[in-house]
Symmetry: C2
Subunit: 268 residues, 2 copies
């Protein structure tokens, strides 16, 4: 029997991963869960994010997934080791693949990283980079307002450019030649980020790098058919549909509501 790939995120951001999975492995079935009742994760603690991530993973497992992609950088930074020790299916995070890609691409040896408060303050990126290449310099910057701007669909607006300038110009002055978009929401703001930083800095999209790694390591379903995607959220399915288009670049059909951690979520 064909088993689906499970993907979860705090909200909409993980759809940038789904978009790339669909492009690279069109035969796969996917089950997506967005925790829209508790979004955002990026300004919350390790303890809270670990609890949420565990509940989301259990929900996906109850749906028979063959692997789980933690398509949220905050969960990847704070909860991944706990999930690894608890669950037996293959688990993928969105930090490691982006780091590998950035190391491949850099020529100056200076990497930039942007993400939520929680991701940046966790030091997860620095640790992962140091593990692979101790000679690199890393400059990081939390960009907490990027998630609400992306969730609002405020792309390329004057206020968004102004906020991007405040966050990014200090990074741009450090001589970095690669910037990791360390939050799956940020690819939606790629154009604005490029506008502020200029073409000299290559942007690494965590979602794309993650999908590439998953394809490398597994044997994707072959065949002509196109796999299905089922979408679940913990709240506000209509809004998820509406803004989700922006992330997926295509229409989102039915969205079902479940509440992981509650009886209903566990049973459904």
């Amino acid at each position: 029997m064909k088993r689906p790939i499970g993907v979860f995120d705090s909200g909409l951001g993980g759809l940038t991963v789904v978009k790339q999975l669909r492009r690279l492995m069109p035969g796969e079935d996917i089950i997506y869960f967005g925790d829209t009742a508790r979004v955002p994760y990026g300004n919350k603690s390790r303890r809270a994010v670990t609890r949420f991530s565990r509940e989301n993973s259990r929900f996906l497992l109850s749906r028979g997934v063959k692997m789980i992609i933690v398509a949220c950088n905050t969960s990847s930074a704070l909860a991944f080791p706990a999930l690894k020790s608890e669950f037996e299916v293959p688990l993928y995070d969105v930090i490691t693949p982006g780091v590998r890609k950035a190391i491949e691409l850099t020529r100056t040896g200076k990497l930039g990283i942007i993400g939520t408060y929680a991701t940046i303050h966790s030091g997860a990126y620095e640790r992962e980079i140091a593990k692979l290449d101790g000679s690199l310099t890393v400059h990081s910057m939390p960009c907490p307002l990027f998630v609400p701007l992306a969730e609002e669909g405020w792309v390329n607006r004057p206020a968004t450019v102004e906020i991007a300038r405040e966050y990014l110009l200090p990074l741009g002055g450090k001589g970095i030649d690669v910037l990791i978009l360390g939050c799956t929401h940020y690819p939606v703001l790629k154009e604005t980020i490029r506008l502020v930083l200029g073409e000299g800095i290559t942007l690494v999209d965590s979602g794309l790098s993650c999908a590439e790694l998953v394809r490398e390591e597994m044997h994707p379903e072959a065949g002509e058919g196109r796999g299905s995607v089922r979408y679940f959220v913990s709240d506000m399915p209509e809004r998820f549909k509406e803004v989700g288009r922006l992330f997926m670049g295509e229409e989102i059909p039915d969205v079902e509501v479940v509440v992981p951690g509650s009886e209903r979520g566990a049973l459904s």
Copy 2:
């Protein structure tokens, strides 16, 4: 025995109510709960916000409060009737007092209201206003980015002014003379709002109006002593302390973590 006043909000916003309670009724003890693990409420559904609000109220009751102030406009708009039917202690919302104040102040009969998506789309303000005076015209505008800007402490920054212009200039052109700040986070952005709209529009602060109404209706604790405030949050106590200063205008001492709805929250 002296029993405390219970106050809850999705996060920091309700502190603007606590600040006014302290000013108007300094002898009262207060227990504050900020649901920082699930903040924000303003882009979530009635069902989710009602569940959260019920759990928060039960936590406050477990602490022996004599009344509950729902210091969150989204909870007031979406969950108040459900709380009223379930709990027996006196309950105050932050919508009714602001509406009364605005009706007192308007001369043109045209009122503006700003708030979260959930508050504005609920129609709670329009209903409350129509109940008291059917002749008034109401213009409303959701300002969803104001909550993250306030929680970031981005007060009077160019980007904040730019975002305020996008939201507020259309309202300013409608001939309103009173604007209700229909979210307890917004008083922190008062100066920016005034800068964009000019001095001709009077701002009504829900938190202040609510504290005034509570003082009118109860008999505040007398005596020379100053009451105590105990702060509880569901996550990130350090950040609450840090940004909370901006809302309270004074230092916030100890902050304790509880998780309403979980065993731990119920027991602690």
